[in-house]
């Protein structure tokens, strides 16, 4: 005799998300960057184009001619625009982006907005029912580095809004030559440390409810994790790309837009085994911070396993590294300009 009894709610089912081989971020722009129309975006996509071509070539060589590659662009609507005028509307930005991409010789498949990384919106005009507080979710997955001597008797210092990759220097206020100064230490490194302290959020003192203002580093971590297909809300997929139907107009406000809008039909999946970000040099620090954040996350084992199994099951089987941060790659442009003499 063999009797079994299980309840479905005992273990959460983890929803799978479609995965491409490569997700290329062709740029990360502020709303202010559209103040001059298409000047900034055109330059950014022109710079990105040759690298995108190279990445395309390499990916197809590695994973076969039918490798799935998608492109995306992140618009920062989280930082309030500094210019006095009204920010451009989503439909205007979509038109500018589409035209600029065409001029650069490729397509932008997905347009994402950074505020939608703080709180994911699944569809236009979404309310609390189809929103997920992704920044809070990622913040909740952070396991802080244990200080030497920490035995669990004190609560983690997570409430400070800072995350470091090692042991902080105990007396930072004291000058280096003062007795008692000890250097900070990055663990697991040979001899010399690169100690980094990342601000995850600050409190908006101007507001009575002291709402958290998330840092670019944390929101970019959410963004990279979405592109790696690793975020879920209680097992459900989040920020799934939304495609506007024919005749369905874009909302006028950025906050009414879904987190990710699919711009091209038949695009390869948004999330991918591997990500590549083509960015101007000033994003380097934030992207390093992202790696540190990802290094401190406790991922859902089921999500990691699901992704690894899918990769192994591809026509050209792929072995993913167990550290998701090793699935991201970056290319930072230089600031060298060529002067054309007419």
């Amino acid at each position: 005799m063999d009797v079994s009894y299980h309840e479905a709610t005992e273990t959460a089912q983890v929803e799978a998300v479609p995965l491409a081989h490569l997700s290329v971020e062709a740029g990360h722009l502020y709303l202010d960057d559209f103040a001059d129309g298409d000047r900034v975006i055109t330059r950014q996509l022109e710079q990105a184009a040759p690298w995108l071509e190279a990445a395309d070539k390499r990916t197809r060589k590695r994973f076969g001619r039918n490798a799935r590659i998608s492109t995306c662009l992140l618009i920062d609507d989280y930082t309030p625009p500094s210019s006095a005028g009204d920010p451009p509307k989503p439909s205007e930005v979509v038109d500018i982006v589409t035209a600029a991409a065409e001029q650069a010789g490729f397509k932008i498949d997905y347009l994402a907005r950074e505020d939608g990384c703080a709180v994911a919106c699944e569809r236009p005009y979404s309310g609390p029912r189809d929103q997920s507080r992704l920044a809070d979710i990622v913040d909740g997955l952070i396991v802080e580095e244990a200080a030497v001597g920490a035995n669990g008797s004190r609560p983690p210092t997570a409430q400070t809004g800072w995350l470091s990759n090692g042991q902080r220097s105990p007396t930072v206020a004291v000058a280096m030559d003062a007795p008692g100064w000890r250097p900070p230490e990055e663990f697991g490194e040979f001899r010399h440390s690169v100690f980094v302290d990342v601000e995850l959020w600050s409190l908006d003192e101007s507001r009575a409810d002291l709402e958290r203002v998330y840092s670019c580093s944390l929101l970019t971590a959410v963004w990279q994790l979405l592109r790696l297909g690793l975020l879920r809300n209680a097992g459900r997929a989040v920020a799934t790309p939304y495609r506007f139907g024919q005749g369905e107009g874009f909302p006028d406000l950025w906050t009414q837009l879904p987190t990710i809008t699919q711009l091209t039909p038949n695009a390869a999946p948004f999330a991918a085994y591997q990500t590549l970000s083509l960015l101007p040099p000033h994003y380097r620090a934030a992207e390093h911070a992202v790696e540190i954040i990802i290094d401190h996350l406790k991922f859902d084992e089921a999500v990691l396993k699901q992704t690894a199994d899918r990769a192994r099951g591809e026509a050209t089987p792929i072995m993913l590294p167990d550290n998701p941060a090793r699935r991201t790659s970056h290319l930072f442009f230089d600031d060298i300009h060529v002067t054309h003499n007419d």
């Binding site: 273990t11 909740g140 396991v143 035995n151 669990g152």
Partner: protein, 320 residues
């Protein structure tokens, strides 16, 4: 059930834990959705819920990093680096448990590695140095307050505090009852038949358990300790708190009916030995019953509660 190790990493040889059990600070028992909301200690992480035979809602595992020396009995030194897991359990919307546990494996490197290395196996600490396992177990089970070694008391206590402090509770209590503490330590080795040794401490509401089992028994052993903690707390609360106070109340002409009914309506239905979980659990629990007659004892107490209730109903106290 917690994952204890990656398939390619060495199996743990020891595990340590602590379980605290108390009443939820809420006037009424919580509904299922309220229990689930209360157990959402980490946003976005799934809460586990089972309705039968008793409603048991479990929070996601919280991860706490540690890097400290072990409290080792007799001789030896060891440094433990890694993470401790802890979770909360609500049973029938009435009883709250905070459970912290950690598995020990020998460290491969003599110094601390990068943090990602330890996060690959949540709930595992690597021990630098090679102290005798028995000395680690004894040292943990006899550690003082505040702890000199791994402080699972504080971690499990914080789980309780976090939940009891929630704004979702009304912070009123239908019964003044204490918190039960169960501290346990397990030796894990392949081909071991599970064994359990329980010692009731001379401090009230404190028990220590020594267990043995296979490395893959660990989730079962953790659950055994949580179930023991729950049942032990129920028995103590009904016997030493409700019945004992009711007898005094009747003697002094005070009305004990409310707490007697609380025992019958809210606590008695929670008695559900975990023999339904698995064959190995059943063997372990049946062994416990043979030694302690816990279920018989509890039934006697429930009968006693009914008798007292009937007695109060027939001859109501004067000060009513």
């Amino acid at each position: 059930m917690p994952r204890v190790a990656e398939p390619d990493s060495p199996a743990p040889t020891l595990a340590l834990g602590e379980v605290r059990t108390c009443l939820i600070q809420n006037q009424g028992a919580l509904s299922t959705p309220a229990s689930v909301a209360l157990m959402q200690l980490i946003p976005g992480s799934p809460v586990s819920k089972v309705e039968r035979p008793v409603r048991r809602v479990i929070s996601p595992e919280q991860v706490t990093g540690i890097d400290c020396r072990l409290n080792i009995a007799r001789e030896g030194r060891g440094r433990a680096i890694g993470t401790v897991l802890s979770h909360a359990v609500v049973t029938n919307g009435r009883v709250l448990q905070g459970s912290a546990h950690v598995a020990l494996t020998p460290a491969e490197a003599p110094e601390r590695r990068e943090w990602r290395h330890y996060l690959r196996c949540p709930g595992v600490v690597e021990v630098v140095g090679s102290p005798n396992p028995n000395n680690i177990l004894d040292g943990f089970l006899t550690d003082s307050t505040p702890a000199r070694g791994v402080d699972l008391a504080s971690i499990s206590d914080r789980v309780i505090e976090d939940v009891q402090g929630s704004s979702k509770l009304d912070h009123r209590t239908p019964l003044r009852a204490g918190t039960g503490v169960v501290r346990w330590a397990a030796t894990l080795a392949p081909d071991t038949v599970p064994t359990v040794g329980i010692v009731k401490s001379d401090v009230s509401n404190v028990h220590t358990i020594r267990l043995r089992g296979r490395p893959d028994d660990l989730p079962m052993l953790i659950r055994f300790c949580e179930e023991f903690a729950l049942h032990e707390w129920l028995l103590t609360t009904v016997m030493d708190v409700i019945v004992a106070r009711a007898e005094v109340d009747i003697e002094r002409d005070r009305d004990p009916l409310e707490s007697l009914l609380f025992a019958l309506d809210q606590l008695a239905p929670l008695w559900m030995p975990p023999t339904y979980l698995s064959e190995r659990m059943k063997v372990l629990w049946d062994g416990l019953e043979d030694r302690t007659h816990y279920t018989t004892l509890f039934k006697q107490q429930v009968t006693r509660v009914r008798d007292l209730r009937d007695q109060v109903k027939i001859r109501p106290p004067r000060r009513f």
